[in-house]
């Protein structure tokens, strides 16, 4: 395959299998398991290919166990691919060369690297030494990032006494000390309250604009993805099933739009059946699902046939759509 110099990350036909052995319950099963072990391969990621340009923010979507984390860890070099190719900035991540490691960073929402009993500042200087930054460089960098993250005297308070939001921001500061150009973020807003989430999001967006860093993130919070990622990659059961911008994902998932109508007088439900699928109906409010091509006709008909106070057209919420999609299981 030919790599385009404008691509920072190239993932080509990447797969990861784990060899597992099944054990039947009970003593008999244990003995059998010991002498005659039947192993088989479970695939975590199957034949995934995509390319990412420098400076992009890409969100990885998928249910628990879909393979997002495995994919992310293969890109930062923590997991060896079974087959296929990963290239990040010209490096093969699994070799974990020093030059590569200085270009990337990983933040995991559920794991921390700061020393628990000490203020973040101590851990920051340890990290600075590990990355070979001078004390002066480290100081300048810490001040710059602390300002962007709105961290002040929290940095000199023991980590164990910080709130989850403050801790997460400090973790992000520690991860960005060495000016990485590729950021891998695995659930960076996990467990944070809405305000703290929003602050982390606005920081990431600003960091991306200021430094041109490439950001790859997974999140369970749809708000993170909609706010940050123009492009999403959906993983379902280890396979890539959508790669593109968020809006067209919504279109492809749901060819219909929601039409909400507020009526002057109550009407029976039968009267609306010919217009579209009734989602919700009570008294004077009706919510209809109408396919896009019939939308204008339906709306003008509604306006002539009924006495309408208010009318609203919207996309069904994206997280609901994706949620339904993953629950449905099989995707074509």
């Amino acid at each position: 395959m030919h790599t385009n110099p404008s691509d920072l990350i190239v993932v080509d036909q990447l797969s990861k299998y784990y060899r597992v052995a099944n054990k039947q319950p009970g003593f008999k099963g244990t003995v059998k398991h010991f002498f005659d072990r039947k192993t088989y391969d479970v695939s975590a990621v199957t034949d995934i290919s995509f390319k990412i340009a420098p400076g992009e923010i890409v969100g990885f979507l998928g249910a628990n166990g879909a393979g997002k984390t495995t994919l992310l860890k293969m890109m930062c070099g923590l997991i060896h691919p079974s087959t296929g190719l990963v290239d990040v900035g010209g490096y093969s991540p699994q070799r974990r060369q020093t030059a590569f490691l200085k270009e990337i960073t990983l933040v995991m929402g559920q794991k921390q690297q700061l020393i628990w009993d000490l203020p973040p500042m101590d851990s920051l200087y340890v990290n600075a030494a590990v990355y070979g930054l001078s004390d002066h460089e480290a100081k300048v960098r810490i001040n710059e990032l602390a300002e962007m993250l709105e961290l002040g005297e929290e940095l000199t308070r023991p980590v164990r006494k910080l709130s989850l939001g403050q801790r997460m921001k400090s973790e992000i500061l520690a991860a960005l000390l060495h000016k990485p150009s590729v950021l891998f973020l695995d659930e960076p807003t996990l467990g944070l309250d809405v305000n703290a989430q929003a602050r982390v999001r606005s920081f990431l967006s600003e960091y991306n604009k200021r430094t041109g860093a490439t950001i790859l993130l997974t999140s369970h919070y749809m708000a993170d993805i909609t706010a940050l990622c123009p492009r999403v990659i959906c993983i379902h059961k280890g396979k890539l099933f959508y790669d593109g911008d968020l809006d067209s994902l919504a279109n492809s998932l749901s060819p219909s739009r929601e039409v909400k109508v507020e009526l002057k007088d109550p009407c029976a439900s039968e009267q609306f059946e010919k217009y579209g699928e009734i989602q919700d109906l009570n008294d004077r409010f009706v919510c209809l699902l109408v396919s896009r091509d019939k939308l204008t006709d339906v709306v003008s008909n509604l306006l002539t046939d009924f006495n309408i106070i208010d009318l609203e057209i919207s996309d069904p919420p994206i997280d609901q759509l994706i949620g339904e999609l993953f629950i449905k299981g099989e995707v074509n």
Partner: protein, 262 residues
Amino acid sequence: MQRYFKTIRLFWSTAFASQLEYQLNFLIELLAMLGTLLGSIFILSLFFTGGRQLGDWTWESALVIQGVYTFLDGLTNAILRPNLTEIVNYVREGTLDYVLLKPIDSQFWLSVKKFSFAGLPEIILGLSIVFWAAIQSASTFSIYSLFVFIISLLIGFIILYSVWFLIAASSIWFVKTWNATEVLRALLAAGRYPISAYPVILRFIFTLVLPIAFLTTFPAEAILGELKFNILFFGLILSSLFFIFSRLFWKFALKHYTSASS
């Protein structure tokens, strides 16, 4: 290289700060350390009163072995135990991922991240005993024997470290702390007495299979000017092999970790 020295300095100063963070705990640790120290001194005092010989060793020279043992025990408490028993937690909590993505040798990080200052008094006591007893035994104490002593001490420490690290690294597969610490301390404790105090078969095992002789007996012989050069040479090769093997084993373990973890 300079980066590694600076990193160690920061590792240990943060370790010291962490230990001071809990004042009561630090006091208790100081007390525990005092207890260990008193225990060591008590055992030493038995040597002074007993007057009987261990193997072919006079009590002064046997005292040197005690000193070496105390020194190594202090070093164990200061560096080996705090760091190597922690490896299993890195694996279990998944924070090993952070270590692996640092542009620094992961074995270095895991081996020197912490330093327990509670081990220092034993280190000082051990060395004091060694020198006092060595001068007492009025043997040929010279710069040369001091040099050989330092080399053979290094050999002993590297062997102890490598064996311990091998066992700790296996937690990548087991993800459980099995009490390796106790096994190793028992091993080290066997080095409290001169190797010639043991039956022939054990002597053989302790020299070649479990090289306990290299931990205490040979350094003691070195400072007493009695160590044969070929043993020192053999020790250098053996400790290098142990160390190289620990590195290779770690690489192998990581290969397994990075192809199995998620």
